[in-house]
């Protein structure tokens, strides 16, 4: 078992608890934007994809990395965009 595994597991478990805490506090009113926002945050895998594509080791890994960069970056851009568009629509009576 690689030594990093244990430290990653710590991080995973603690982040899971943090996730449960903050996400349970999100009003059901905003569950759709919540899903698109977490989707955009999850698109952070783009950083791993950039490294795989940018290393340019073999044509296969570069192609896989490039696809991953495009797919995850589209999630990042589109996810933040649509979340903001949705949240702008939520108005209370006072702010109308």
């Amino acid at each position: 078992m690689p030594p990093d595994f244990i430290s990653n597991l710590y991080v995973f478990i603690l982040a899971g608890f943090v996730g449960f805490g903050v996400i349970r506090a999100v009003s059901p009113l905003l569950h759709t934007p919540l899903m698109s926002l977490t989707n955009a945050l999850d698109a952070i895998v783009v950083v791993a994809a950039i490294i795989i594509a940018g290393r340019h080791e073999t044509p296969l890994t570069t192609a896989l990395g490039a696809i991953a960069v495009a797919a995850s970056f589209s999630n990042m851009v589109g996810g933040f965009l649509i979340t903001d568009r949705m949240l702008r629509m939520f108005k209370s009576r006072r702010s109308k």
Binding site: A15, A71, S72, V77
Partner: protein
Amino acid sequence: MTELALQQYLDFAYIVAVVLFVLSLKFLSSPLTARWGVLAGEVGAALAVIVTLFNPEVAHYKWVLIPLIIGAGVGVPLGMVRMTAVPQRTALSHAFGALSAAMIGIAEFYVGTAPVTRFEMGEISLEVIIGSLTFTGSLIAAGKLQEILPQRPIVYRGQNIVSLSILAGALGLAAALVVNPAHAILFPIMVVVALAFGVLLVTPIGGADMPTVISLLNSYAGISAALLGFVLNSKVLVVAGALDGSSGFILSVIMCKAMNRSFTNVMFGAFGQVQTSAAATKEERVVRSASPEDAASILGVANSVVIVPGYGMAVAQAQHKVRELYDLLSKKGVDVRFAIHPVAGRMPGHMNVLLAEADIPYDRLIEMDDINGDFPQTDVALVIGANDVTNPAARTDKSSPIYGMPILDVDKARTVMVIKRSMSPGFAGIDNPLYYLDNNLMLFGDAKQFVNSIVRELSGASAAHG
């Protein structure tokens, strides 16, 4: 700057990004601060992407910048879709997220710089299996939501056995790779089997169960990203994946509870099958129907109205007409609120977004548990395109397939009006005894046209009297 020092700067930037991600979700707890959440997330993501471009391992920018431009080119239109298309857009983005996690895992396998240990082989295999099945599963879900694929569940005999054997096959191949990582040829086969399993997992699931499916796929996409973090030893991926995974998990649990389904029931794909309604008792029951004029006059004299929207409202694109109705009634001094069932629509929170798009203030959108106690004091409950979530059989009829499911108690209102195309049972094929109650009126017709007729009737009446 030495490479080590640079690496430390990069790690520090990732920590800042992670903090911003957690804050981003925290801001979402209230609609007042929610847009700050988007900003925090954007800053964190931009920071992480920019510092990664300075990573010395990134040597060939051509292979990075072109895909980034393509990604932005695809992402912007996907961020600008109409609100009614949000469920399929979300499913598609789960597919993209899972695709990239799977692609990176596969690439990592073929990089093969370091000798792959059994443990690493297990990590990569699990990551790629979950990523692949989430990719195809999400594509199928998106296809169903876009109505490219039939929304009805596609079922055949022995389906669960076939599907689970295929999953077992993928896991078996992963196990074989762990036992002997040298059998690299098994890896692509494992990927193909996992892709096939994703298709089989979602195909049997019907449109009405999509809120649960989308949440579950969201969770899987997060888990695959977190696993990728383990494979690459990247804490930022572990955290982002854990946040996304726990979010999807919480939403799945909420959806399950709102449909009175156990989590295992959902996990094993036994859901969404066509409910063969228990041979309906064919005695003649009286259904009372009403015209738009009748409906308008009843609404016009009400003090309190609760509107119950469902997927049918979204299909008919009636939300803007509903807003006109809301405005007219509010102007007359009628207290109008909206009752939102957690699984109304095709994804969690779907109805809230549609009504917010139509400019209905969010403080008028009330959750099921908060509004159910108010129905007995409500003059009119107006059901638009919702069916099963208002079915009182869920409370009373133990033989009903939806018995035990929490519902909106519209039947307790003084008058219930249901806009519906015909008496045909809803998606799940379950008869709704609500429609035969003495206090219920059926308003037969298309939701948008019917609401429009009511609006015209009401505004005409107020002009005449006012």
